[in-house]
C-alpha cells in the first residue's frame, strides 16, 4: 500500500521554542489516522508544515507523493483542511464560504453539499459573525466533506459540536473511508478516535512516542483483572508485569501488562476461579499514561533544576 503521508525526522523551531523535534508520521492511503498528543505537543505545527504554511527546518516530508512546500498548490487540489478554530469573514454567509472553498480546491459535489448542510443542520444564509463556534466549525466541515479530494486533514474538527453533530461527523468520516479517502484526524475526543481510527500516532514534545494500530497499542498497556477465588491467591506479587495488586480475602484486583496476562491467569486458576472480569485498557488509560509521563518528566525536570 502506498503512503499518503510520510514524515521523518521533522524539526521546526520558533525562536527559542522547539516545536518539532524529530517527528515521524506515516499515514497509509485509505486509512483514518488518529493524531494525538497533549496541548502544545506540536500537532498543529506538523499539520501547518504538511499544508506548506510553515517551512520545516529539517526532515523529510511527503504528502500524496509530493513535497508539501514546493508543490503546495498542486497538492492542495487533492486536500481539504478543517482547522480547529474556524474564523469566517464577518460579512460573508456560510454558504458563500463553503462554495468558495470548494471552488478553490477544484470541485464541490453539489448534491453532497446539500445533503451535508441538511445533516449538519446548518443555516447557510447566516453571516460569519453570527455563527456560534460549533456552527463555524460546521461550515468548514461541510466545505471539506463536499469537496472532491483524496486526503482530509482535520485538526480537532469537532470542538464545539454537540453530541448529535459529533455522530453526524463520525458517519461522514466513515463514509469518506468507505470511498477510499485518507483522513488525518487530530483529536482529543478519545471515543471519536476509538470509533474512527485504524491507526494512531501519539506525539509529545514534538516527537512521536507511539504509533500503530489501536490493537498494537493496547498490547503495550495493562489489562485490569478482578477475580473472586476459591482459595487465597498464591504468589501473584512475584509474577512479572503485575501492578497495583489488591488482595482482600479471596478477592483480587490487579493490573497486568497485557503480554504477561498468561502467567497471571495460570496462577489464578491454581487457586480456583469463582468469577473473573478482565477489562482491556481503555484509550483514556492508554493516553493518560503518555500524557502523564509528560507531566511527570516535566516535574522531574523542575525538581532537577
Amino acid at each position: 500500500m502506498t503512503k499518503a503521508i510520510t514524515v521523518s525526522g521533522l524539526h521546526k523551531t520558533f525562536g527559542r521554542t522547539r516545536a518539532l523535534d524529530g517527528l515521524d508520521l506515516d499515514v497509509e492511503t485509505g486509512e483514518v489516522h488518529g493524531f494525538l498528543g497533549p496541548n502544545g505537543a506540536g500537532k498543529s505545527t506538523t499539520i501547518r508544515v504538511l499544508l506548506g504554511l510553515l517551512r520545516a527546518d529539517s526532515g523529510a516530508t511527503q504528502m500524496l507523493g509530493m513535497d508539501p512546500w514546493s508543490d503546495a498548490v498542486e497538492l492542495h487540489r487533492r486536500v481539504a483542511y478543517v482547522p480547529g478554530d474556524v474564523t469566517l469573514w464577518r460579512n460573508l454567509s456560510g454558504g458563500e464560504v463553503i462554495d468558495l472553498y470548494g471552488r478553490l480546491r477544484g470541485g464541490l459535489d453539489k448534491a453532497r453539499r446539500a445533503d451535508l448542510i441538511e445533516r449538519f443542520e446548518l443555516d447557510p444564509t447566516k453571516k460569519g459573525r453570527t455563527y456560534s463556534k460549533g456552527n463555524r466549525q460546521k461550515v468548514a466541515l461541510v466545505a471539506a466533506f463536499a469537496s472532491d479530494v483524496d486526503l482530509l486533514i482535520l485538526d480537532e474538527p469537532t470542538s464545539g459540536l454537540d453530541p448529535l453533530m459529533e455522530e453526524v461527523f463520525q458517519n461522514c468520516v466513515a463514509e469518506e473511508r468507505a470511498r477510499g479517502r485518507t483522513v488525518l484526524l487530530s483529536s482529543h475526543v478519545l471515543s471519536e478516535v476509538e470509533a474512527l481510527c485504524d491507526r494512531v500516532s501519539i506525539i509529545r514534545k514534538g516527537r512521536t512516542v507511539e504509533s500503530g494500530s489501536l490493537a498494537d497499542l493496547r498490547h503495550l498497556t495493562r489489562t485490569s483483572v478482578t477475580a473472586e477465588l476459591a482459595g487465597p491467591p498464591n504468589g501473584l506479587s512475584h509474577l512479572p508485569g503485575v501492578h497495583d495488586l489488591d488482595v482482600q480475602g479471596h478477592r483480587v484486583r490487579l493490573q497486568v501488562e497485557t503480554d504477561k496476562l498468561d502467567a497471571v491467569l495460570r496462577s489464578l486458576t491454581e487457586s480456583g476461579v469463582r468469577s473473573l472480569t478482565s477489562t482491556p485498557p481503555t484509550l483514556e488509560e492508554l493516553f493518560l499514561r503518555h500524557y502523564q509521563d509528560d507531566v511527570l518528566t516535566g516535574e522531574e525536570e523542575a525538581v532537577a533544576r
Binding site: 454567509s93 471552488r103 447557510p124 459573525r129
Partner: protein, 538 residues
C-alpha cells in the same frame, strides 16, 4: 437612523453596581493604547504648537498678519477650507490655520479609541469573558469614554500650555475647543457603537458624521465671513470655530459643546442598557445560501470593494470641492507675497491657479497613500486573524492569494487618483487633460509607499503594520507641514512625493517618475519573495 428595529429588551435594571470594574477596564484600555494614544496626542498637539513658530516667522508683524487675516476672511474658498480669521494676533492666526484640522484629528482619535474598546471588544468576543467577571453593564462604555477623556484632556492641557505664550485665555479656549470636539465625537462613537454589530461600520458611520460636520461648516463659512451662518452653527466644528479663541473668547459656546457631549453620552448609555451584549439596533441581513465567489481575487474584491467605493466617492467629492475653490484661492494668494511663496513651495512655479491645483493634487496623492497602505496591510489582517490559513490550504498559491488584494491596492490607487483628478477638473471647469495627468503622476509615489508596506509585510510581518503606517504618516506629515516650515529639499526627499514634478504647470519630469516606479517594483518583488519563503503566521 429611522429604520431602528425593536431590539430584544434587556433587563432594564442594570444590576446593583452598573459601574463595577470600570476602573480596571480603564487601566486595561490605557495599557492597550500605551503607544497609540501618546502618538495621537503628540500629532494633534504638535500640529498646533509648531504653527506658532512657522507662522510666527512668516508673518512677523501685526501689519502682515492683519493683511493676511483680511485677505483670507475676504476669500470664500479659504473660509470654506479654514474658516474666517477672527483676529490679527499670532494666536488667532494659528487657531485659524491649524485649529480646525486639529479638532478633526482629535475627533478621529476619539472615535478610534471609543469603538476599539466597545464594539470591537464585543465583535471579537473578548467582551463576553470580561462581562462574565464583576463588570457592571455600564462599565465597558464608561472605561472607553474615560480613556477618550484622558487623551482629550492631555490634548487640551498641552495645547493650552504650548500656546500660553500667546495669551492664556485664548490658549485655554483653543485647548478646550479641540479637546471638546474630541469628546463630542467620542460620544458620537459611543452611540454608533450601539447601532451596528461591526466595529468597522461604527467607525465609518462616525467618520461620516464628522465629514458631514466639516462640509456643513465649510459651506456655512463660504457663505458668511464671520461664522454666523446657520449651517456653520449646525456643525459642531462650527462651534469650535465660534468659540473664537484669541478673539474675545465666547465661553458660552464651549458650554454648548459640553452640554452636547453630556446629551450624547446620555443617549449612549440609554442605548447600551436597552440592548443585549453583542447585539445591535441595526439588523444584520442574511446572506445568499450559495456563493458566486470562486477565486482568491474574487474574495479579495468582495472584502475590499466597500473600501474602494468609499475612497473613490470621497476623492471625487474632495476633488469637486477643491476644484470649485481654485479660482478664488488663486485670486487671494496673488495678493500676498508670503502665501504665494508657501503655495509655490507646495505646488509649483507657474501660474497661481496651477500652483493651487498642484498643491491639491499633491494633497490627494498623499491621502491616497493611506488608502494603498491600508489596502496592502489587509493581507496582514487576513493572515493574523487566521482567515488566510484555510484559504492557503486550498489550491491557492501565496502569490495568487496576495495578488488579488494587491491588484485592488495598486489598481485602486490609480482609480482613486483618477476620480480625484476628475473631481478637480470638473470643479475647476477647465484643464481636464493637465489635471488628470498631474493626478496620475502622483501614482508612482503612492505605489512606492504601498510597495514599502508590501516589502515590510513579506520580510518583517510582525513589524509591517506599525512600520507601514509610520512611513506613510511621515510622508504625509512632511508634505503637509514641510512647505510651511521651509524644510530643506534634502529632508523633503525622504518622502517619495518630494521628488515629483509639481504638476500642472512646469514641464513634466520623467526621470523621478520612472525611478519611483522602478523602486516600487523592486520593493514589491522583494516583498513577494519574502512572502513566498516565510512561514505563515497566526
Amino acid at each position: 437612523m429611522t429604520a431602528v428595529t425593536a431590539p430584544r429588551f434587556a433587563v432594564r435594571a442594570s444590576g446593583t453596581r452598573p459601574l463595577a470594574g470600570a476602573g480596571t477596564l480603564l487601566r486595561l484600555a490605557l495599557r492597550r493604547d500605551r503607544v497609540m494614544m501618546p502618538v495621537w496626542v503628540a500629532v494633534v498637539v504638535l500640529m498646533v504648537v509648531s504653527g506658532v513658530s512657522s507662522i510666527g516667522q512668516l508673518y512677523d508683524t501685526t501689519a502682515k498678519r492683519a493683511e493676511l487675516a483680511a485677505d483670507m476672511t475676504a476669500n470664500g474658498s479659504m473660509r470654506a477650507m479654514y474658516g474666517p480669521v477672527f483676529g490679527d494676533s499670532l494666536g488667532a492666526i494659528v487657531t485659524w490655520r491649524f485649529g480646525g484640522f486639529a479638532a478633526v484629528l482629535a475627533a478621529v482619535m476619539s472615535l478610534m479609541i471609543v469603538v476599539r474598546h466597545t464594539r470591537e471588544e464585543e465583535e471579537t468576543g473578548r467582551h463576553e469573558l470580561l462581562a462574565s467577571a464583576v463588570v457592571g453593564r455600564r462599565a465597558p462604555l464608561t472605561a472607553a469614554l474615560l480613556a477618550a477623556l484622558v487623551a482629550n484632556t492631555a490634548v487640551a492641557l498641552l495645547i493650552t500650555a504650548g500656546l500660553s505664550g500667546q495669551g492664556t485665555a485664548g490658549a485655554l479656549a483653543l485647548g478646550l475647543a479641540i479637546g471638546g470636539i474630541g469628546m463630542l465625537f467620542a460620544g458620537m462613537a459611543a452611540i454608533m457603537a450601539q447601532l451596528t454589530e461591526s466595529a468597522r461600520f461604527a467607525r465609518g458611520l462616525t467618520a461620516a458624521v464628522l465629514g458631514a460636520a466639516f462640509l456643513l461648516r465649510a459651506t456655512g463659512d463660504s457663505a458668511s465671513d464671520d461664522g454666523s451662518s446657520v449651517l456653520t452653527w449646525l456643525s459642531p466644528l462650527g462651534w469650535a470655530e465660534n468659540a473664537r479663541p484669541y478673539a474675545d473668547e465666547r465661553w458660552w459656546v464651549l458650554a454648548l459643546l459640553a452640554a452636547a457631549v453630556v446629551i450624547q453620552l446620555a443617549i449612549g448609555y440609554v442605548l447600551t442598557e436597552r440592548r443585549d451584549a453583542g447585539m445591535s439596533f441595526l439588523p444584520t441581513r442574511p446572506g445568499p445560501a450559495e456563493g458566486r465567489i470562486s477565486t482568491a481575487a474574487g474574495l479579495a474584491w468582495r472584502l475590499q470593494r466597500g473600501s474602494v467605493v468609499s475612497w473613490g466617492t470621497g476623492f471625487l467629492l474632495a476633488g469637486l470641492v477643491f476644484g470649485g475653490m481654485t479660482e478664488g484661492a488663486a485670486d487671494l494668494v496673488g495678493d500676498n507675497e508670503d502665501a504665494r511663496e508657501i503655495f509655490e513651495r507646495m505646488g509649483g512655479q507657474a501660474g497661481l491657479t496651477d500652483a493651487f491645483l498642484a498643491a491639491m493634487v499633491g494633497m490627494l496623492g498623499m491621502v491616497a497613500a493611506l488608502y494603498v497602505v491600508q489596502s496592502v496591510l489587509r493581507l496582514s489582517a487576513e493572515e493574523t486573524s487566521g482567515r488566510a490559513e484555510p484559504v492557503l490550504a486550498n489550491a491557492v498559491g501565496r502569490l495568487r492569494w496576495a495578488s488579488g488584494h494587491l491588484l485592488i491596492a495598486f489598481g485602486g490607487a490609480v482609480l482613486v487618483m483618477l476620480l480625484g483628478g476628475l473631481g478637480l477638473a470638473l470643479g475647476y471647469g477647465k484643464e481636464f487633460g493637465p489635471v488628470l495627468g498631474a493626478s496620475l503622476v502622483q501614482v508612482p509615489a503612492i505605489w512606492t509607499l504601498g510597495a514599502l508596506a508590501l516589502f515590510l509585510y513579506g520580510m518583517f510581518p510582525k513589524a509591517s503594520v506599525a512600520a507601514g503606517w509610520a512611513a506613510s504618516g511621515l510622508a504625509l506629515a512632511l508634505g503637509w507641514i514641510g512647505p510651511a516650515l521651509d524644510i530643506p529639499q534634502a529632508v523633503m526627499n525622504v518622502s517619495p512625493f518630494g521628488h515629483l514634478p509639481k504638476l500642472p504647470g512646469p514641464e513634466m519630469a520623467w526621470t523621478p517618475v520612472v525611478v519611483l516606479a522602478v523602486v516600487a517594483a523592486g520593493l514589491a518583488a522583494a516583498g513577494m519573495t519574502g512572502l513566498r519563503r516565510r512561514d505563515v503566521t497566526t
